[in-house]
């Protein structure tokens, strides 16, 4: 349980980090909060020859709301999102502080970062699910400049993303908050990664739902957007029947694998239950 040898450099800016990543030629990993990377080093699942520490880069942790979009600096911590002022987070984005409380435990939330979670790309991670739900754009910085990657092209598989080895994640832009949103999950223990997580965001009115988005985490190798569940909701009234139909559609659509934590049937059943609960929560928030 000891990390393998590597060199370590602390960057003063994301630009400097990008320069070093270019020089180090693909053998380096970016270290932010380290709450996932350090255990991976300890288990020797990751064996970079160099770490580029960006955790002390100033001004890379801002939350900015502009024109319906929420821009989240890569180094915003889970705890920062947990305590984000709600009045600055209109519509569905007000889900973020509630969701942050599901991320690990207080010490993890102090160090761990939003951008780090996105770059780590665990398909059950709260922020990866919500990046998909909120139609994120991921802003990556390299020596060559800035590149913007839509979330649908960003997650490539378990712990795999479209980031190149010479790129550092600079910012995540959430583009579509909807009117209301909810995230629910089932985990074996408080603070664990979810076995299955389900998130929903809806626009329009309870009488006529517009632009529904339903995302399930922990069932596929990337967060899964359920087109079937969304089709069941689009244009419908948000009735218990519509919610049940969307939940059943999502459960039928997912193709979960079995692993040591849960078999496929269990994950499929959880999908139906959690999509229903997420939609019920949206409904109760709409009609308190």
């Amino acid at each position: 349980m000891k990390p393998p040898p590597f060199s370590y450099r602390r960057a003063a800016s994301l630009g400097e980090a990008a320069e070093w990543l270019a020089d180090l030629g693909g053998e380096a990993k970016v270290l932010a909060g380290g709450q996932s990377l350090v255990p991976m080093l300890s288990f020797r699942l990751a064996r970079p020859s160099a770490l580029v520490d960006v955790s002390r880069v100033p001004d890379a942790c801002d939350l900015r709301h502009e024109e319906g979009r929420l821009r989240i600096g890569a180094l915003a911590t889970h705890r920062q999102l947990e305590h984000a002022p709600l009045e600055e987070l209109p519509g569905g984005f007000a889900l973020l502080p509630r969701a942050a409380r599901l991320v690990g435990h207080p010490p993890i939330r102090l160090r761990g970062t939003f951008g780090g979670s996105i770059a780590h790309a665990d398909p059950a991670a709260e922020w990866c699910v919500l990046a998909t739900l909120f139609d994120a754009e991921i802003v990556a910085l390299s020596r060559a400049g800035v590149r913007t990657i839509p979330v649908a092209e960003f997650f490539r598989g378990f712990f795999a993303t479209a980031l190149r080895p010479d790129e550092v994640l600079a910012e995540v832009v959430l583009r579509h908050g909807g009117r209301e949103a909810a995230l629910v999950e089932f985990a074996r223990r408080h603070g664990d990664f979810a076995l299955v997580a389900a998130a929903a965001s809806l626009d329009g009115t309870p009488e006529r739902v517009v632009e529904p988005r339903v995302v399930v985490g922990g069932v596929h190798d990337v967060p899964f957007r359920s087109a079937a569940a969304e089709a069941a909701l689009a244009g419908a009234a948000l009735t218990p029947e519509a919610i049940a139909a969307a939940a059943a559609a999502a459960a039928a659509e997912v193709e979960p694998a079995s692993d040591v934590h849960a078999d496929a049937a269990h994950r499929r059943q959880l999908t139906g239950t959690l999509v229903r609960r997420a939609l019920e929560e949206v409904r109760s928030r709409w009609r308190p």
């Binding site: 040898p5 590597f6 270290l31 255990p39 288990f43 160099a50 690990g104 207080p106």
Partner: protein
């Protein structure tokens, strides 16, 4: 045998631990927990899982609780740390949090206790009168296999009482 070394494999780190400044050269790959225990002899910081799950290695970094197994020692450069060794007075008088854990039987084997004590220290510094729900949420990342947690919750409530009483004392004297 020739040792294989790379540029920047070790670095000079300057940290303040329990009020004492320490300058030392550490391997970049060493976790803060290992450096505290093996370089500085502060073995009160316990290592349970070494991957951030159990909370036994929790210490304070600039007053906030962190997992010392999830931090590299080089990342702590320039920071102020507090470990369980920093809680009691030099004459052995227990810190109110330690006193409360002792009084309320908030420990049995004691392996997880250092992590609990430091987590509670941050909790009480920010929430002088936490209710049970907050205490249980706050300590959700600290695993204890002995107590069943009930006595730990009671110890934290008692520690809060002792800490508030201590805070009032100087005012009562004037």
């Amino acid at each position: 045998m020739e040792a294989v070394t790379r540029e920047n494999d070790s670095q000079l780190v300057s940290i303040v631990v329990n009020g004492v400044r320490r300058d030392l050269t550490v391997d970049c790959r060493r976790t803060l927990a290992d450096v505290l225990r093996e370089e500085l002899g502060l073995t009160g910081t316990h290592l349970g899982c070494e991957h951030g799950v159990c909370g036994a290695c929790t210490i304070l970094l600039d007053g906030r609780s962190v997992r010392s197994c999830l931090l590299l020692a080089v990342q702590a450069d320039g920071r102020v740390l507090e470990t369980v060794e920093g809680l009691a007075d030099d004459d052995g008088t227990l810190h109110p949090i330690q006193e409360a854990f002792s009084e309320k039987h908030g420990l049995q084997c004691g392996f997880c206790t250092p992590g609990f004590l430091l987590s509670v220290r941050e909790l009480l510094a920010t929430h002088p009168d936490p209710d049970e729900e907050l205490i249980r949420n706050w300590l959700s990342g600290n695993i204890c296999r002995c107590t069943g947690y009930q006595n730990i919750v009671e110890a934290v409530q008692y520690a809060a009482e002792l800490t508030r009483a201590e805070a009032l004392e100087p005012a009562a004297r004037t």
